[in-house]
Amino acid sequence: MTAVVLPDLAAGYDVDAVRSDFAVLSRQVHGRPLVYLDNASSSHKPRQVLDAERAFVEQHYSNVHRGVHTLSQEATDCYESARATVAAFLGAQPDEVVFTKNVTECINLVAYSFGNAAPGSPFHLGPGDEVCITEMEHHSNLVPWQMLCQRTGATLRWIPLGDDGRLDLTDLDALVNERTKVLAFVHVSNILGTANPVEALVHRARTVGAFTLLDGAQSAPHQRVDVTDLGVDFYVLTGHKMLGPSGVGVLWGRKDLLDAMPPFLGGGSMIETVQMSGSTYAPAPDRFEAGTPVISQAVALAAACDYLQAVGLERIAAHEHALTAQLLDGLRRLDGVRVIGPETTEMRGAAVSFALDGIHPHDVGQSLDELGIAVRVGHHCAAPVCRRYGVAATTRASSYLYNTAAEIDALLEGIVTVQDFWRR
């Protein structure tokens, strides 16, 4: 319905053209040009995405699904086309795509749905059953499973981290075993940057008949993803990290599983028949979209997928790879810097965590901010990782399609300035 003008990058990766689509990137912070390196936390949104959402809301908005009037039919068309776009983005079918509010809800959806399964159902968990995660999970792929295990009496196990910032798979066969019902792990770590060996883990899970859930919050924004190639049962992502708005996440699940799983949230639109005494539920994806869905956010997310594909995910990945190499290389040349996570660009994403000797991450982050450089400091919702590497917190720089080599240089210089200031 909405014509969106996408960047024309046929001639090569023109980062300036990309940057011009993001209003905030021309902001000044403390009198310096903003250097935004907090993309693993959330990305900015190009005007194409904002325009698409606004055009939809101003011309075609209405509630979806249940109406026969023109606006409601147009809104339904826009919403369902958004589902088709996101599905195509993941190499999937539209009816395998469930819209939620964020990736955290997606994971809770799966965990609660399993928790609602009756004994005898393939999704049921009880004492003696196990859920396996890893020590590098974001709290959003950790706490829901802790809570599920608490409710059901199942046992939570985890694959530990090695000293190199990668999973230690030595005991994989013991950790993922015949009792394992679910293996849930992160595709690319938001704190370490580590990219995990999906194939090996999925292979092991399949061998023992465990369901697999892949947390794609940090992969979908940065690389081409094909859920069939990945071979997992569930893949989840969050819109705000991939040029979309806050308030939208996506659960992709195998259709046969989604149709068989018990519902999670109850309410309008997820039902088939409702009587006071009991209800039956609609097939997926409706079954998992109770209430008025995140309509305009889904439309905006589809525009973000279009934008990413117009720029080209391979080109984005290559661009980020170069920036990451530059950053890792630069950090290596500095004194008093320790990278937490893989120190080379093999099997890794663009998030780079580090510690500066004797300077608290809060002070690093705040001092960099005074230079206009936005990085994230803290435990990055992965407290066990910090504990594993003996730090209370890290400083993390994470680049995206609109960052430049000059910005990485600015960060590296900024680190030196910060070191000088705090070591006076």
């Binding site: 699904h65 249940r66 026969v68 409601s72 039919q73 339904t76 068309d77 369902e80 088939e272 028949t273």
Partner: protein, 151 residues
């Protein structure tokens, strides 16, 4: 109503004077289908004899689209070979899923082409399919019960 109305005269005619309505004997299978979102329902009987759809009869209540479409369906399938009737129902299904993009084939769908406009209204597609889905369900059951392929 306007010219581009989904309510073509053909549809209104079938709605006001439905063909083959009223449950009849003999029959092989009877089914009851409901559209839970709007409460429309149809009870439908099918008789298969010698590889032919020898009779279809039905009763039900619902909107003009579901009623007219069931009437058109019964006209189209009665007397046809089961195979051919199933192909006709596939053609109608395809038309309904086309979101107004398909040019229907009058040779195959006859009065059914009047529903092309309905396909632009997702909320109404289910209405148009109610009777067809009931027929397909009943026919599949009847063929299976007669223990044979479709001939």
């Amino acid at each position: 109503m306007s010219n581009e109305s989904m309510y073509q005269e053909i549809i209104l005619d079938h709605y006001r004077n439905p063909h083959h309505k009223g449950l009849r004997d003999p029959y092989d299978v009877e089914v009851h289908h409901v559209n839970p979102t709007c409460g429309d329902e149809v009870t439908l009987r099918v008789r298969i004899a010698g590889g032919l759809v020898s009779d279809v009869s039905y009763d039900g209540q619902g909107c003009s689209i579901s009623q007219a479409s069931t009437s058109v369906m019964s006209d189209l399938v009665i007397g046809k070979a089961v195979d051919e009737a199933l192909r006709t129902s596939e053609a109608f299904l395809e038309l309904m899923q086309s979101r107004g993009q398909l040019e229907p084939d009058e040779d195959v769908l006859e009065d059914g082409i009047a529903f092309a406009g309905v396909s632009r209204y997702p909320a109404r597609v289910k209405c148009a399919l109610l009777g067809w889905m009931a027929w397909k369900d009943a026919t599949t059951q009847a063929v299976a019960a007669s223990g044979g392929g479709s001939a």
